[in-house]
């Protein structure tokens, strides 16, 4: 499974401070630690910032790609910030994220096509968050058609079934699981399927327990990419064990120590 490290996000107070002070060492350190812990891709999010978010994104990209040699995931609701981030990337990146809403697709798909980027697509649209797996699959199909029309092959599409906090929308956790199963059959080869894992535990105590339990469940039904905290050692241990149980990684005692 592909691990996208979530820690370089201005929503975290320490990251917000590092961004404010343009503390490149702190950002580079966070990048290196995530990659050492097993992240294959790093997500970059400037967080809510008043001043020049495009400039900050460009700065983050340049600091992180000087520190580590992994692809980046440009995470912003604003297409102009995404464009600035993509432009600064030395290798193909992933856009985080579009939805099924026409306006979003029109703004972001041309950027993905132009830069050879992957794109994460949340299965929501103008009507809001879908109630069940079937509604998610319907939006997913529309997104898939739009990306193919834009010349983006399924292997660059990351469909996100939308994970909601278990303390707020308990029944939706299993709907998202069912949607993962459905997404796998949309086309052959299937698109990537991704979740923003930490959403599931938003606002709950013992978040790590909820995250790692849900990760194992998602992997069993076909998840192949997740945005998560690679510095959570217990979570990464569950990932290794799950990969072995699903016959995706060759068993070795040392991986379970």
């Amino acid at each position: 499974m592909y691990v996208i490290g979530e820690r370089i996000n201005g929503m975290f107070r320490s990251v917000a401070r590092a961004i404010r002070e343009r503390n490149a060492d702190a950002i580079a350190d966070l990048a290196r630690r995530q990659v050492e812990a097993g992240a294959h891709v790093l997500d970059l999010n400037t967080g809510p910032t008043g001043e020049d978010p495009a400039g900050i994104m460009t700065w983050l990209v340049s600091v992180v790609q000087d520190a580590v040699d992994v692809p980046l995931c440009i995470d912003s609701p604003r297409p102009a910030v995404v464009a600035a981030g993509l432009k600064a990337c030395r290798r193909p990146a992933i856009i985080n994220s579009t939805t099924g809403a026409r306006e979003k697709l029109d703004a972001l798909l041309p950027l993905a096509a132009e830069h050879g980027a992957g794109i994460i697509a949340l299965t929501i649209d103008e009507r809001g968050i879908p109630r069940n797996a079937e509604a998610r699959a319907e939006i997913a199909l529309a997104i898939l058609a739009a990306t193919m029309e834009a010349g983006i092959p399924p292997e660059r599409l990351y469909l996100d079934p939308i994970v909601l906090p278990v303390n707020a929308a308990q029944a939706q956790c299993k709907e998202a699981l069912a949607a993962i199963g459905a997404f796998r059959h949309l086309c052959d080869p299937p698109p990537h399927i991704i979740v923003g894992l930490s959403n599931v535990s938003q606002g709950a105590p013992n978040r790590s327990l909820i995250n790692r339990t849900y990760l194992a469940m998602c992997l069993a039904v076909g998840l192949d990419t997740a945005i998560l905290d690679p510095l959570d050692e217990e979570l990464m241990a569950v990932l290794r064990a799950a990969n072995m149980l699903l016959d995706k990684e060759i068993y070795a005692e040392g991986l379970l120590g």
């Binding site: 990684e249 060759i250 068993y251 070795a252 005692e253 040392g254």
Partner: protein, 321 residues
């Protein structure tokens, strides 16, 4: 209708391992041999930039072998018992790219040669031939642990390939290789899980993963070839899929394992239907080697000069398509 050839794309890559060090690199070798580096299965992707081709090492023993069939002993008869002359013959006459020195004499049940004697032999062979050297101990754990630090020291800086580490006995060899700048052979007989576990243990001690060559066991045509073949194939696939603990080049040791087979040994006088043993014996060693090459072997250790020639022709043909 034109058939489009599918090009394989794998996320992983086999590590590149270099054997031997030139004067500029702190050794005295005339050339360095590099194996591994693959981005695809063996011999199937002419589209990919060619990785390093498989290499043939010729086995040299430090003692006089017993019980060899005449077919095997004849071409080497004038050098058996003299590892230096044997190595020179392999390099000068048969064009060996690497010499694989077997320290069989150190085994307590054979001559029980001392670590100092073994170190002298290693140095003498290094001084006699310009090619890179691989050295394998006698397989007796306690004795190997006495011998290894002495021979790694005697070959310091030559970037040899030293072996053979196994799950029950690897610490001394790993430490010795790290101290003296050598690479290591890691063996797990026909067990991919233990092979991976051993790599985890070895790298946790600090030896980089690009200084390990895997030896997934011994086998011969008719005697376990298919088991080792399938393990080697799975190792290569796992490495190409991105498993760094199974992404090392692989070694297959032919030689005496093959020549134990009655099909390689018995003279035609005893088995008329099997035909001339002077052809059949080397063919058995070469056929075994060809099987391992197709499974993904990067380094073959071979005894019979005719088998070396046959395998070299086969590699040429497979590489050029």
């Amino acid at each position: 209708m034109a058939v489009e050839r599918t090009k394989e794309k794998w996320p992983g890559r086999v590590f590149t391992v270099s054997i031997g060090a030139t004067a500029g690199e702190g050794g005295t070798r005339g050339r360095v041999v590099t194996i591994g580096g693959h981005t695809a299965l063996p011999f199937v992707s002419p589209d990919d930039p060619p990785a390093n081709r498989p290499v043939i090492a010729m086995i040299v023993r430090d003692d006089k072998p017993r019980d060899w069939p005449e077919t095997l002993a004849r071409p080497l008869a004038d050098v058996l018992g003299s590892p230096v002359e044997w190595a020179q013959k392999c390099v000068e006459e048969y064009g060996a790219e690497v010499v694989c020195l077997s320290l069989a004499s150190t085994h307590p049940d054979r001559q029980d040669a001392s670590p100092d004697q073994a170190a002298k032999t290693v140095r003498a062979v290094l001084d006699a031939v310009p090619v890179p050297l691989m050295v394998v101990g006698c397989g007796h754990h306690d004795k190997d642990n006495e011998v290894w630090p002495r021979i790694t020291d005697a070959a310091r800086g030559e970037r040899c390939l030293m072996g053979i580490a196994c799950q029950e006995n690897y610490r001394t060899l790993v430490a010795a290789c790290m101290a003296d700048g050598h690479s290591l052979i890691a063996e797990a007989p026909i067990d991919i899980n233990i092979q991976k576990q051993l790599n985890i243990l070895v790298t946790e001690m600090g030896l980089p993963p690009e200084r390990i060559v895997l030896h997934p066991g011994n086998a011969s045509l008719g005697y376990g070839l298919e088991y080792e073949y399938s393990i080697m194939e799975r190792i290569r696939l796992a490495g190409l899929q991105g498993d760094r603990m199974l992404a090392q080049p692989m070694l297959a040791i032919l030689g005496e394992e093959v020549w134990k087979a009655k099909e390689a040994r018995l003279p035609a006088s005893q088995q008329p239907a099997w035909g001339d043993e002077t052809y059949r014996g080397p063919a058995w060693e070469a056929a075994t080697g060809m099987g391992f090459l197709v499974a993904g072997a990067d380094l073959l250790a071979v005894l019979h000069p005719e088998a070396v020639l046959a395998l070299r022709r086969a590699i040429d043909a497979a590489v050029t398509g």
